[in-house]
């Protein structure tokens, strides 16, 4: 299969306290932030690699293309998936402020027209804005079938049909989609047995989570191509449809953490002190 995986850089969630709001409240400032690959996108990369390889022999079964939108620094974000084993990258130059889910989806739709992938595999959402919309808008623009929140992907016929498991409140909802399609993934997609491509032997054990980039993979990634495009190259000239009016920090937490000796004491205190029971 040819799989396109869009990835976004997000402020390192472990360092969320470094996120600052500009004095006028107009934007979140990005100076001094450490950037990370959005975790759900990293899971999409892992799922794409598992779909397109024989996990036991390492043989490749198709191409995985990574795309990211943003300033020049996003090339670093693209390099990690390339080091994990993806084949090549596309960097679409843009200011972070120019982008919202709609612009991103339009850019991806234009790239799909050029690259003609069988599957766009993406994270269900980015952990910064938590919009959870880019995949859905893209499927609509393309008129493609869509499966969101995938926690399992299976194919037995080389990707002609995909069986997708979606976790819902009451259990697992199973969908069959016929590519080309858009699939967005949830956390469980990187459990050891979540992706089955009919080629990797069932006995093969994947680790829990996305794979590490090996040192050899990192060396190999230095030589992999990242094509650079602009929004104009892709014919996306309309601006963002979402505008932000104001950002503010949540109020500082008051109170302190208290430790209790037993469940009984907790219930007692919730009744008498917190008065929430």
């Amino acid at each position: 299969m040819k799989i396109l995986v869009p990835v976004k850089r997000v402020a390192d969630p472990d360092n969320a306290n470094k996120v600052k709001v500009s004095a006028d409240g107009a934007r979140v400032t990005s100076e001094g932030l450490e950037w990370k690959l959005n975790p759900f996108d990293e899971y999409a990369v892992e799922a794409a690699l598992r779909l397109n390889e024989n996990g036991a022999s390492g043989e490749k079964l198709g191409e995985v293309i990574i795309v990211s939108l943003g300033p020049d620094e996003v090339q670093t974000t693209i390099r990690q998936p390339l080091a994990m084993g993806a084949d090549r990258g596309i960097h679409v130059k843009a200011d972070d402020a120019e982008l919202d889910s709609t612009v991103v989806a339009k850019v991806l739709a234009a790239l799909v027209a050029q690259e003609k992938p069988d599957l766009v595999l993406m994270g269900k959402q980015a952990v910064d804005g938590d919009s959870n919309t880019a995949g859905q808008v893209l499927a609509e623009l393309l008129g493609w079938p869509m499966a969101t929140f995938a926690m399992a992907i299976e194919t037995a016929d080389g990707g002609k049909t995909l069986t997708i498991g979606r976790e819902v409140d009451t259990g697992v909802l199973t969908l069959k989609v016929t590519p080309p399609a858009v699939v967005t993934v949830d956390l469980r997609i990187v459990a050891p047995g979540s992706v089955r491509n009919g080629v990797t032997p069932d006995a093969h054990k994947y680790g829990e989570g996305a794979r590490y980039a090996s040192l050899k993979g990192i060396m190999a990634a230095k030589k992999k191509a990242i094509d650079v495009r602009t929004l104009a190259d892709l014919g996306v000239t309309d601006g963002a449809v979402v505008t932000y009016t104001k950002f503010e920090r949540p109020p500082a937490r008051t109170g302190s953490v208290r430790f209790v000796e037993s469940a009984q004491e907790l219930v007692q205190r919730l009744k008498t002190e917190a008065k929430v029971l």
Partner: protein, 387 residues
């Protein structure tokens, strides 16, 4: 939340993209695969063999060598990998250092093409473990006084002698052994199973407990012609290996020090005495400031050393200065962290006590602190205070 590290002088800006990727991936590996199990292994005095194949998959074995299935990393990327590993445990970093710098490197640098093909790819895959036998019971710092002897016999060599304190000794499938042939030091590759070669694990140690340390015995051990490393004669052989390993150590111990610093900082911010966090007291702050300053100085020193090595300009005395300074720095940082943790500092639940005990070995092996003083002293004055 994973390990954050300390970067007070924004040295990250000086690193290339691939170097940061190496650091970040090995960091995550240490968080996820080493941190959860290392305390138990240390306590039990066992080496986590199950991690060998994961080290290999990650490319940590012989990472800075070119070809033969090795990753071919630059010196700084390699150093950063060692830094992250040693944040996990000095014993695990030692495993990787010995495999890569002390066992694979001499084969790579001084071996015949046949020896390289036979050993290096399997060693990079972690299927063949190597060890490095230089130190003897009676010859430690004075390694060139060694009495292990090789003699020519029809078809090969006969080796007699004892090596002591040999990391990976009981794990190894092949030992790189330094012995005197006609009074000149030579390297020999002795496969496990060769008659007359046996190993014995040293168990009564309170440092580097998650690493295997052994004695090697050679009793009329006969090896073939093809066991001799053809490319080197004299102490230049083992010393050039040690230069590689000492370089890795000077990075590695920064990891141990940063681990200790981070643990101490977080602990001091949480721990209240006299109804305030102890991090708010001047004496505790002084300890933290000293740790952070010394770590930052070591980082600058080592990054520069790495760039010199990449440019092919590094001198052994420069590596000695970094090994000497950084190990001492890390040991002091571990002791200060142990202190800040109070009683908790002596438990296995917190890493500084373990790092502190490990670093006592690192202070001594690969040239003791004082021997490196003498090496730098000789370099500065032109006068040798030792043989």
């Amino acid at each position: 939340m994973g390990f954050q590290g300390l970067d007070f002088y924004n040295l990250d800006d000086e690193l290339h993209e691939d170097e940061r990727l190496v650091r970040d991936n090995v960091r995550r590996f240490v968080d996820e695969r080493i941190e959860p199990i290392i305390g138990k292994h240390y306590e039990a005095g066992t080496f986590p063999k199950e991690l060998i194949s994961e080290f290999a998959d990650l490319g940590l074995l012989g990472a800075n060598l070119e070809g033969y299935g090795c990753a071919g990393m630059g010196a700084v990327a390699y150093g950063l990998a060692m830094q992250e590993l040693e944040r996990g445990d000095s014993g695990l970093r030692s495993f990787a250092s010995v495999q890569g710098s002390l066992a694979m490197y001499p084969i790579w640098a001084f071996g015949s093409e046949e020896q390289k093909q036979r050993y290096l790819p399997g060693m990079a895959r972690g299927e063949i473990i190597g060890c490095f036998g230089l130190t003897e019971p009676d010859y430690g710092s004075h390694a060139n006084g060694m009495i292990t002897k090789a003699e020519r016999v029809p078809g090969g060599y006969r080796i007699n002698g004892v090596k002591r304190w040999i990391t990976n000794g009981d794990l190894c499938q092949v030992a790189v052994v330094w012995a005197k042939l006609d009074d000149v030091v030579h390297g020999f590759l002795v496969p496990r199973g060769t008659p007359g070669f046996s190993t014995h694990k040293i168990d009564d140690k309170w440092s580097l407990r998650a690493s295997v340390t052994s004695e090697l015995f050679f009793e009329d051990c006969v090896v073939g012609e093809d066991a001799l490393l053809p490319g080197v004669r004299g102490m230049r052989g083992p010393l050039s290996c040690l230069s590689q390993a000492r370089y890795g150590i000077s990075w590695g111990v920064i990891g141990a020090a940063m681990g200790c610093y981070e643990t101490a900082l977080n602990y001091a911010k949480d721990r209240k005495q006299f109804s305030r966090p102890i991090a708010g007291y001047q004496l505790v702050q002084q300890k933290l400031v000293t740790m952070a300053t010394e770590i930052t100085k070591a980082q600058c020193l080592t990054l520069r050393l790495g760039r010199l090595k990449e440019a092919g300009k590094v001198r052994p005395a420069q590596i000695s200065m970094a090994k000497r300074n950084n190990v001492h720095m890390a040991l002091e940082a571990a002791r200060a962290a142990r202190d800040i943790l109070g009683g908790n500092g002596i438990t296995y639940a917190y890493s500084p006590g373990r790092h502190m005990m490990n670093l006592e070995t690192v202070y001594t092996y690969e040239g003791t602190h004082d021997i490196h003083t003498l090496i730098v002293g000789q370099d500065l004055t032109g006068l040798a205070a030792f043989e």
